[in-house]
Protein backbone atom coordinates (compact mmCIF):
# COMPACT_ATOMS: atom_id res chain seq x y z
CA UNK A 1 0.00 0.00 0.00
CA UNK A 2 1.38 3.38 -0.99
CA UNK A 3 1.75 5.78 1.90
CA UNK A 4 2.62 8.67 -0.32
CA UNK A 5 0.64 10.75 -2.71
CA UNK A 6 2.15 10.53 -6.17
CA UNK A 7 0.85 11.76 -9.49
CA UNK A 8 1.83 10.88 -13.01
CA UNK A 9 1.22 13.89 -15.27
CA UNK A 10 1.65 11.63 -18.32
CA UNK A 11 -1.33 9.48 -17.34
CA UNK A 12 -4.64 9.97 -19.14
CA UNK A 13 -6.39 10.41 -15.79
CA UNK A 14 -6.47 14.17 -15.10
CA UNK A 15 -4.01 15.21 -12.37
CA UNK A 16 -6.77 16.66 -10.16
CA UNK A 17 -8.53 13.30 -10.23
CA UNK A 18 -5.29 11.47 -9.39
CA UNK A 19 -4.90 13.71 -6.33
CA UNK A 20 -8.55 13.31 -5.37
CA UNK A 21 -8.39 9.53 -5.62
CA UNK A 22 -4.93 9.34 -4.03
CA UNK A 23 -6.06 11.29 -0.97
CA UNK A 24 -9.26 9.24 -0.69
CA UNK A 25 -7.07 6.13 -0.74
CA UNK A 26 -4.73 7.49 1.96
CA UNK A 27 -7.73 8.36 4.14
CA UNK A 28 -9.44 5.01 3.51
CA UNK A 29 -6.29 3.06 4.41
CA UNK A 30 -5.73 5.08 7.56
CA UNK A 31 -2.36 6.41 6.33
CA UNK A 32 -3.97 9.83 6.76
CA UNK A 33 -5.78 9.81 10.09
CA UNK A 34 -9.11 11.52 10.64
CA UNK A 35 -8.53 15.09 11.75
CA UNK A 36 -4.91 15.06 10.51
CA UNK A 37 -3.65 18.13 8.63
CA UNK A 38 -3.01 17.84 4.87
CA UNK A 39 -0.41 19.96 3.07
CA UNK A 40 -1.49 23.40 1.86
CA UNK A 41 -2.33 23.78 -1.82
CA UNK A 42 0.95 25.59 -2.35
CA UNK A 43 3.08 23.02 -0.52
CA UNK A 44 1.56 20.11 -2.38
CA UNK A 45 1.78 21.89 -5.76
CA UNK A 46 5.43 22.69 -5.13
CA UNK A 47 6.16 19.19 -3.93
CA UNK A 48 4.53 17.57 -6.98
CA UNK A 49 5.63 20.43 -9.26
CA UNK A 50 2.16 20.91 -10.69
CA UNK A 51 -0.17 23.85 -11.22
CA UNK A 52 -1.62 24.96 -7.84
CA UNK A 53 -5.02 25.41 -9.52
CA UNK A 54 -5.05 21.65 -10.12
CA UNK A 55 -4.44 20.92 -6.42
CA UNK A 56 -7.05 23.51 -5.46
CA UNK A 57 -9.60 21.81 -7.70
CA UNK A 58 -8.97 18.41 -6.07
CA UNK A 59 -9.15 19.92 -2.55
CA UNK A 60 -12.36 21.73 -3.39
CA UNK A 61 -14.00 18.53 -4.62
CA UNK A 62 -12.83 16.63 -1.54
CA UNK A 63 -14.11 19.40 0.73
CA UNK A 64 -17.48 19.38 -1.00
CA UNK A 65 -17.57 15.59 -0.63
CA UNK A 66 -16.88 15.90 3.11
CA UNK A 67 -13.52 14.09 2.96
CA UNK A 68 -11.54 17.22 3.83
CA UNK A 69 -12.52 20.15 6.00
CA UNK A 70 -11.13 23.68 5.84
CA UNK A 71 -10.59 25.48 9.15
CA UNK A 72 -10.24 29.20 8.57
CA UNK A 73 -6.75 30.43 9.32
CA UNK A 74 -5.58 26.97 10.30
CA UNK A 75 -5.51 25.06 7.04
CA UNK A 76 -7.05 21.95 5.58
CA UNK A 77 -7.63 18.74 7.53
CA UNK A 78 -9.02 15.29 6.97
CA UNK A 79 -12.64 15.47 8.14
CA UNK A 80 -13.12 14.17 11.67
CA UNK A 81 -15.86 11.82 10.60
CA UNK A 82 -16.64 9.87 7.47
CA UNK A 83 -18.64 12.09 5.13
CA UNK A 84 -22.35 11.98 5.90
CA UNK A 85 -23.99 11.12 2.62
CA UNK A 86 -27.60 10.36 1.94
CA UNK A 87 -28.02 6.81 0.68
CA UNK A 88 -28.88 8.25 -2.76
CA UNK A 89 -25.64 10.28 -2.87
CA UNK A 90 -23.64 7.30 -1.73
CA UNK A 91 -25.22 5.09 -4.39
CA UNK A 92 -24.48 7.68 -7.08
CA UNK A 93 -20.86 8.18 -5.99
CA UNK A 94 -20.27 4.43 -5.84
CA UNK A 95 -21.83 4.00 -9.27
CA UNK A 96 -19.63 6.71 -10.80
CA UNK A 97 -16.49 5.16 -9.36
CA UNK A 98 -17.60 1.70 -10.46
CA UNK A 99 -18.23 2.90 -14.00
CA UNK A 100 -14.75 4.37 -14.22
CA UNK A 101 -13.21 1.16 -12.92
CA UNK A 102 -15.34 -1.04 -15.20
CA UNK A 103 -14.28 1.02 -18.27
CA UNK A 104 -10.66 0.67 -17.25
CA UNK A 105 -11.03 -3.10 -16.82
CA UNK A 106 -12.84 -3.41 -20.16
CA UNK A 107 -10.24 -1.43 -22.11
CA UNK A 108 -7.56 -3.66 -20.60
CA UNK A 109 -9.48 -6.68 -21.84
CA UNK A 110 -9.95 -8.05 -18.29
CA UNK A 111 -12.60 -10.68 -17.60
CA UNK A 112 -15.42 -9.85 -15.17
CA UNK A 113 -14.25 -12.33 -12.53
CA UNK A 114 -10.69 -11.01 -12.73
CA UNK A 115 -11.89 -7.42 -12.35
CA UNK A 116 -14.16 -8.25 -9.42
CA UNK A 117 -11.34 -10.20 -7.80
CA UNK A 118 -9.11 -7.13 -7.94
CA UNK A 119 -11.81 -5.09 -6.17
CA UNK A 120 -12.07 -7.69 -3.42
CA UNK A 121 -8.31 -7.75 -2.91
CA UNK A 122 -8.08 -3.94 -2.80
CA UNK A 123 -11.06 -3.84 -0.38
CA UNK A 124 -9.38 -6.28 1.97
CA UNK A 125 -6.05 -4.45 1.76
CA UNK A 126 -7.60 -1.09 2.62
CA UNK A 127 -10.20 -2.40 5.07
CA UNK A 128 -7.53 -4.09 7.16
CA UNK A 129 -5.51 -0.93 7.54
CA UNK A 130 -8.54 1.31 7.94
CA UNK A 131 -9.91 -0.94 10.68
CA UNK A 132 -12.95 -2.11 8.70
CA UNK A 133 -13.63 -5.30 6.83
Amino acid sequence: MKRRLTVDPADAVPIWRQIEEGLRRLVASGALARGAPVPSVRELAKDLRINPATVAKAYQRLTEAGVLAVRRGEGTFVAAEAPALTSGERRRTLREGAERYASLALTLGAAKQEALGAVTTAWEDLGEKGGRS
Binding site: A45, N51, T107
Partner: protein, 306 residues
Protein backbone atom coordinates in the same frame (compact mmCIF):
# COMPACT_ATOMS: atom_id res chain seq x y z
CA UNK B 1 -15.48 42.56 -29.53
CA UNK B 2 -17.31 40.00 -27.48
CA UNK B 3 -18.38 40.58 -23.91
CA UNK B 4 -15.90 37.90 -22.81
CA UNK B 5 -12.84 39.98 -23.65
CA UNK B 6 -12.62 41.25 -20.09
CA UNK B 7 -11.77 37.74 -18.88
CA UNK B 8 -9.16 37.19 -21.59
CA UNK B 9 -5.56 38.14 -20.93
CA UNK B 10 -4.77 37.78 -24.60
CA UNK B 11 -6.59 36.98 -27.78
CA UNK B 12 -5.51 36.12 -31.31
CA UNK B 13 -8.18 36.29 -33.98
CA UNK B 14 -7.30 34.82 -37.40
CA UNK B 15 -3.71 36.01 -37.22
CA UNK B 16 -1.61 35.51 -40.35
CA UNK B 17 2.10 36.33 -40.43
CA UNK B 18 4.09 36.29 -43.67
CA UNK B 19 7.74 36.91 -44.41
CA UNK B 20 7.79 37.75 -48.11
CA UNK B 21 6.16 34.79 -49.77
CA UNK B 22 6.66 32.46 -46.82
CA UNK B 23 3.73 32.08 -44.44
CA UNK B 24 4.85 31.63 -40.83
CA UNK B 25 1.37 31.49 -39.31
CA UNK B 26 -1.97 31.23 -40.99
CA UNK B 27 -5.35 32.26 -39.56
CA UNK B 28 -4.38 31.35 -35.99
CA UNK B 29 -7.04 32.00 -33.35
CA UNK B 30 -6.85 31.26 -29.66
CA UNK B 31 -7.27 33.08 -26.41
CA UNK B 32 -5.88 32.78 -22.92
CA UNK B 33 -8.31 33.34 -20.04
CA UNK B 34 -6.99 35.33 -17.07
CA UNK B 35 -5.40 33.12 -14.46
CA UNK B 36 -4.79 30.18 -16.75
CA UNK B 37 -1.59 28.58 -18.02
CA UNK B 38 -1.58 28.15 -21.80
CA UNK B 39 1.14 26.14 -23.52
CA UNK B 40 1.74 26.89 -27.18
CA UNK B 41 3.56 23.92 -28.68
CA UNK B 42 5.10 23.19 -32.04
CA UNK B 43 8.27 21.99 -33.67
CA UNK B 44 10.98 24.47 -34.55
CA UNK B 45 9.70 26.64 -37.38
CA UNK B 46 6.03 25.89 -36.66
CA UNK B 47 5.31 29.61 -36.16
CA UNK B 48 5.50 30.02 -32.36
CA UNK B 49 8.12 32.77 -32.40
CA UNK B 50 6.28 34.76 -35.08
CA UNK B 51 3.09 34.72 -33.00
CA UNK B 52 5.00 35.70 -29.85
CA UNK B 53 6.55 38.64 -31.70
CA UNK B 54 3.04 39.79 -32.66
CA UNK B 55 1.87 39.44 -29.06
CA UNK B 56 4.78 41.50 -27.79
CA UNK B 57 4.04 44.26 -30.30
CA UNK B 58 7.29 43.68 -32.15
CA UNK B 59 5.51 42.78 -35.36
CA UNK B 60 2.22 43.61 -36.97
CA UNK B 61 0.42 40.61 -38.46
CA UNK B 62 -0.54 40.84 -42.14
CA UNK B 63 -4.05 39.77 -41.25
CA UNK B 64 -6.10 39.29 -38.13
CA UNK B 65 -6.17 40.91 -34.73
CA UNK B 66 -4.05 40.55 -31.61
CA UNK B 67 -5.21 41.96 -28.28
CA UNK B 68 -3.66 41.93 -24.82
CA UNK B 69 -6.06 42.94 -22.05
CA UNK B 70 -8.34 44.11 -24.85
CA UNK B 71 -5.78 46.43 -26.48
CA UNK B 72 -3.61 46.19 -29.57
CA UNK B 73 0.03 45.61 -28.55
CA UNK B 74 1.32 47.09 -31.83
CA UNK B 75 -0.09 50.55 -31.10
CA UNK B 76 0.04 50.45 -27.27
CA UNK B 77 3.29 48.61 -26.85
CA UNK B 78 4.99 50.58 -24.08
CA UNK B 79 1.90 50.74 -21.86
CA UNK B 80 1.03 47.06 -22.30
CA UNK B 81 4.57 45.78 -21.89
CA UNK B 82 4.69 47.31 -18.39
CA UNK B 83 1.97 44.78 -17.44
CA UNK B 84 3.89 41.84 -18.94
CA UNK B 85 6.85 39.79 -17.81
CA UNK B 86 8.79 38.20 -20.63
CA UNK B 87 11.45 35.52 -20.61
CA UNK B 88 12.72 35.49 -24.20
CA UNK B 89 14.15 32.44 -25.90
CA UNK B 90 17.60 34.04 -25.91
CA UNK B 91 17.80 36.55 -23.05
CA UNK B 92 19.93 39.50 -24.02
CA UNK B 93 21.52 42.38 -22.08
CA UNK B 94 24.63 44.53 -22.35
CA UNK B 95 27.49 42.05 -21.68
CA UNK B 96 29.34 44.35 -19.28
CA UNK B 97 26.39 44.99 -16.96
CA UNK B 98 26.04 42.83 -13.84
CA UNK B 99 22.78 41.18 -12.79
CA UNK B 100 22.42 43.78 -10.04
CA UNK B 101 22.93 46.70 -12.47
CA UNK B 102 20.45 45.21 -14.93
CA UNK B 103 17.90 44.77 -12.12
CA UNK B 104 18.37 48.41 -11.04
CA UNK B 105 17.87 49.52 -14.63
CA UNK B 106 14.71 47.41 -15.06
CA UNK B 107 13.25 48.68 -11.77
CA UNK B 108 12.89 52.12 -13.34
CA UNK B 109 10.90 50.80 -16.31
CA UNK B 110 8.03 49.33 -14.30
CA UNK B 111 5.37 51.19 -12.31
CA UNK B 112 5.69 48.64 -9.48
CA UNK B 113 8.87 46.73 -8.82
CA UNK B 114 9.52 43.96 -6.30
CA UNK B 115 13.23 44.52 -5.70
CA UNK B 116 13.35 42.16 -2.71
CA UNK B 117 11.71 39.43 -4.74
CA UNK B 118 14.33 39.80 -7.47
CA UNK B 119 17.16 39.61 -4.91
CA UNK B 120 15.61 36.56 -3.22
CA UNK B 121 15.16 34.71 -6.50
CA UNK B 122 18.68 35.45 -7.70
CA UNK B 123 19.98 34.07 -4.41
CA UNK B 124 17.75 31.00 -4.68
CA UNK B 125 18.91 30.40 -8.27
CA UNK B 126 22.53 31.08 -7.18
CA UNK B 127 22.96 33.69 -9.92
CA UNK B 128 25.84 36.00 -8.83
CA UNK B 129 24.82 39.66 -8.65
CA UNK B 130 28.25 41.06 -9.45
CA UNK B 131 29.30 39.04 -12.53
CA UNK B 132 28.90 40.71 -15.95
CA UNK B 133 25.98 39.35 -17.98
CA UNK B 134 28.34 38.24 -20.76
CA UNK B 135 30.07 35.84 -18.36
CA UNK B 136 26.89 34.14 -17.05
CA UNK B 137 26.03 30.66 -18.27
CA UNK B 138 23.06 30.13 -20.55
CA UNK B 139 21.07 28.73 -17.64
CA UNK B 140 21.96 31.69 -15.39
CA UNK B 141 20.90 34.15 -18.11
CA UNK B 142 17.51 32.42 -18.27
CA UNK B 143 17.17 32.50 -14.49
CA UNK B 144 18.07 36.18 -14.39
CA UNK B 145 15.48 36.83 -17.11
CA UNK B 146 12.84 35.00 -15.04
CA UNK B 147 13.73 36.89 -11.85
CA UNK B 148 13.46 40.19 -13.76
CA UNK B 149 10.22 39.17 -15.51
CA UNK B 150 8.62 38.43 -12.11
CA UNK B 151 10.12 41.60 -10.59
CA UNK B 152 7.62 43.80 -12.45
CA UNK B 153 4.70 41.95 -10.81
CA UNK B 154 3.30 41.02 -14.22
CA UNK B 155 -0.34 40.28 -14.96
CA UNK B 156 0.77 38.14 -17.88
CA UNK B 157 3.96 36.13 -18.00
CA UNK B 158 5.29 35.07 -21.40
CA UNK B 159 7.87 32.29 -21.21
CA UNK B 160 9.46 31.47 -24.56
CA UNK B 161 11.08 28.07 -24.11
CA UNK B 162 12.34 28.86 -20.59
CA UNK B 163 13.83 25.41 -19.95
CA UNK B 164 16.00 25.44 -23.06
CA UNK B 165 19.59 24.82 -22.04
CA UNK B 166 18.74 24.28 -18.36
CA UNK B 167 20.00 21.22 -16.51
CA UNK B 168 17.59 19.13 -14.40
CA UNK B 169 18.30 21.00 -11.17
CA UNK B 170 17.78 24.41 -12.79
CA UNK B 171 14.63 23.15 -14.49
CA UNK B 172 13.24 21.97 -11.16
CA UNK B 173 13.98 25.40 -9.65
CA UNK B 174 12.24 27.11 -12.56
CA UNK B 175 9.06 25.07 -12.23
CA UNK B 176 9.02 25.59 -8.45
CA UNK B 177 9.33 29.32 -9.01
CA UNK B 178 6.44 29.17 -11.46
CA UNK B 179 4.29 27.18 -9.00
CA UNK B 180 5.08 29.77 -6.32
CA UNK B 181 4.09 32.64 -8.63
CA UNK B 182 0.85 30.93 -9.64
CA UNK B 183 -0.06 30.17 -6.02
CA UNK B 184 0.87 33.65 -4.82
CA UNK B 185 -0.52 35.88 -7.56
CA UNK B 186 -2.55 33.75 -9.98
CA UNK B 187 -0.55 35.20 -12.87
CA UNK B 188 -1.68 34.31 -16.37
CA UNK B 189 1.02 32.40 -18.25
CA UNK B 190 1.69 31.84 -21.93
CA UNK B 191 4.42 29.26 -22.30
CA UNK B 192 6.23 27.68 -25.21
CA UNK B 193 8.42 24.72 -24.44
CA UNK B 194 9.87 21.52 -25.80
CA UNK B 195 9.85 20.11 -22.26
CA UNK B 196 6.49 18.41 -22.66
CA UNK B 197 6.72 16.64 -19.29
CA UNK B 198 6.91 20.02 -17.58
CA UNK B 199 4.12 21.42 -19.73
CA UNK B 200 1.95 18.45 -18.89
CA UNK B 201 2.20 19.19 -15.17
CA UNK B 202 1.66 22.92 -15.50
CA UNK B 203 -0.63 23.82 -18.41
CA UNK B 204 -4.38 23.80 -18.24
CA UNK B 205 -4.81 24.49 -21.95
CA UNK B 206 -2.64 23.65 -24.95
CA UNK B 207 -2.34 24.84 -28.51
CA UNK B 208 -0.38 22.78 -31.03
CA UNK B 209 0.98 24.51 -34.12
CA UNK B 210 2.06 22.64 -37.20
CA UNK B 211 3.42 24.45 -40.23
CA UNK B 212 1.77 27.70 -39.19
CA UNK B 213 -1.66 26.26 -38.49
CA UNK B 214 -3.18 25.63 -35.09
CA UNK B 215 -4.13 21.93 -35.02
CA UNK B 216 -5.25 21.79 -31.40
CA UNK B 217 -6.60 24.37 -28.97
CA UNK B 218 -8.29 22.78 -25.97
CA UNK B 219 -8.00 21.93 -22.27
CA UNK B 220 -5.14 19.49 -21.67
CA UNK B 221 -7.48 17.11 -19.81
CA UNK B 222 -9.82 16.94 -22.83
CA UNK B 223 -6.95 16.39 -25.26
CA UNK B 224 -5.61 13.51 -23.21
CA UNK B 225 -9.05 12.02 -22.73
CA UNK B 226 -9.64 11.69 -26.46
CA UNK B 227 -6.29 10.14 -27.46
CA UNK B 228 -5.48 6.45 -27.01
CA UNK B 229 -3.11 3.89 -28.44
CA UNK B 230 -5.13 0.85 -29.43
CA UNK B 231 -3.15 -2.33 -29.95
CA UNK B 232 -4.66 -5.56 -31.20
CA UNK B 233 -3.97 -8.84 -32.92
CA UNK B 234 -5.80 -9.77 -36.06
CA UNK B 235 -6.72 -13.21 -37.19
CA UNK B 236 -7.28 -12.11 -40.79
CA UNK B 237 -5.89 -9.27 -42.87
CA UNK B 238 -9.32 -7.87 -43.77
CA UNK B 239 -9.54 -5.77 -40.62
CA UNK B 240 -7.58 -3.01 -42.34
CA UNK B 241 -9.87 -0.80 -44.38
CA UNK B 242 -12.90 -2.58 -42.95
CA UNK B 243 -15.94 -0.83 -41.51
CA UNK B 244 -14.75 -1.96 -38.09
CA UNK B 245 -11.47 -0.14 -38.55
CA UNK B 246 -13.19 2.95 -39.94
CA UNK B 247 -15.40 3.16 -36.86
CA UNK B 248 -12.26 3.43 -34.75
CA UNK B 249 -10.99 6.15 -37.13
CA UNK B 250 -7.26 5.84 -36.42
CA UNK B 251 -4.86 8.73 -36.97
CA UNK B 252 -1.98 6.40 -37.72
CA UNK B 253 -1.47 2.65 -37.99
CA UNK B 254 1.72 0.79 -37.31
CA UNK B 255 2.56 -2.88 -37.68
CA UNK B 256 4.55 -4.18 -34.74
CA UNK B 257 5.91 -7.66 -34.21
CA UNK B 258 3.14 -8.38 -31.68
CA UNK B 259 0.26 -6.95 -33.70
CA UNK B 260 -1.09 -3.66 -34.93
CA UNK B 261 -0.97 -0.33 -33.12
CA UNK B 262 -3.34 2.48 -33.94
CA UNK B 263 -3.35 6.00 -32.52
CA UNK B 264 -6.92 7.18 -32.08
CA UNK B 265 -7.78 10.85 -31.61
CA UNK B 266 -11.51 10.54 -30.93
CA UNK B 267 -11.54 7.69 -28.43
CA UNK B 268 -14.82 6.56 -26.92
CA UNK B 269 -15.43 3.54 -24.71
CA UNK B 270 -18.43 2.48 -26.85
CA UNK B 271 -16.61 2.56 -30.19
CA UNK B 272 -13.69 0.72 -28.63
CA UNK B 273 -15.93 -2.00 -27.13
CA UNK B 274 -17.53 -2.54 -30.57
CA UNK B 275 -14.09 -2.71 -32.19
CA UNK B 276 -12.72 -5.15 -29.61
CA UNK B 277 -15.70 -7.48 -30.15
CA UNK B 278 -15.54 -7.34 -33.97
CA UNK B 279 -14.66 -10.50 -35.92
CA UNK B 280 -10.97 -10.78 -36.76
CA UNK B 281 -9.88 -8.56 -33.85
CA UNK B 282 -8.28 -10.16 -30.81
CA UNK B 283 -6.75 -8.95 -27.55
CA UNK B 284 -7.59 -5.31 -28.17
CA UNK B 285 -6.14 -2.97 -25.55
CA UNK B 286 -6.38 0.78 -25.22
CA UNK B 287 -3.65 2.65 -23.40
CA UNK B 288 -3.30 6.36 -22.66
CA UNK B 289 -0.80 8.62 -24.40
CA UNK B 290 1.38 11.18 -22.72
CA UNK B 291 1.37 14.71 -24.12
CA UNK B 292 4.73 13.94 -25.72
CA UNK B 293 3.28 10.91 -27.50
CA UNK B 294 0.23 12.91 -28.63
CA UNK B 295 2.54 15.65 -29.92
CA UNK B 296 4.61 13.14 -31.88
CA UNK B 297 1.46 11.52 -33.31
CA UNK B 298 0.31 14.93 -34.54
CA UNK B 299 3.58 16.59 -35.51
CA UNK B 300 5.98 13.72 -36.18
CA UNK B 301 7.16 12.84 -39.67
CA UNK B 302 4.21 10.60 -40.42
CA UNK B 303 1.84 12.67 -38.25
CA UNK B 304 -1.72 13.19 -39.30
CA UNK B 305 -4.73 15.37 -38.71
CA UNK B 306 -5.93 16.35 -35.22
Amino acid sequence: MSSHDGQKALCLDHVTVRYGKATAAEAVSFSVPRGSVYALLGRNGAGKSSLIRCLLGQRKPQEGEVTIFGEDPWSNRARLMARLGVVPEEPDAPPDMTARQIAAFCSRLYPSWDGNGVETRLRRFAVPGDVPFGRLSKGQKGQLALALALGGLPELLVLDDPTLGLDVVARKALFEELVEELAERGTTVLLTSHDLGGVEAMADRVGILKEGRLLVDEPLDDLKARFRRVSFGQSDATVHGSETMKALDPLALKQAAWGTEAVVSGFSEEAFARFAAAPGVSDAEASPLSLEEIFIALCGEEGGRP
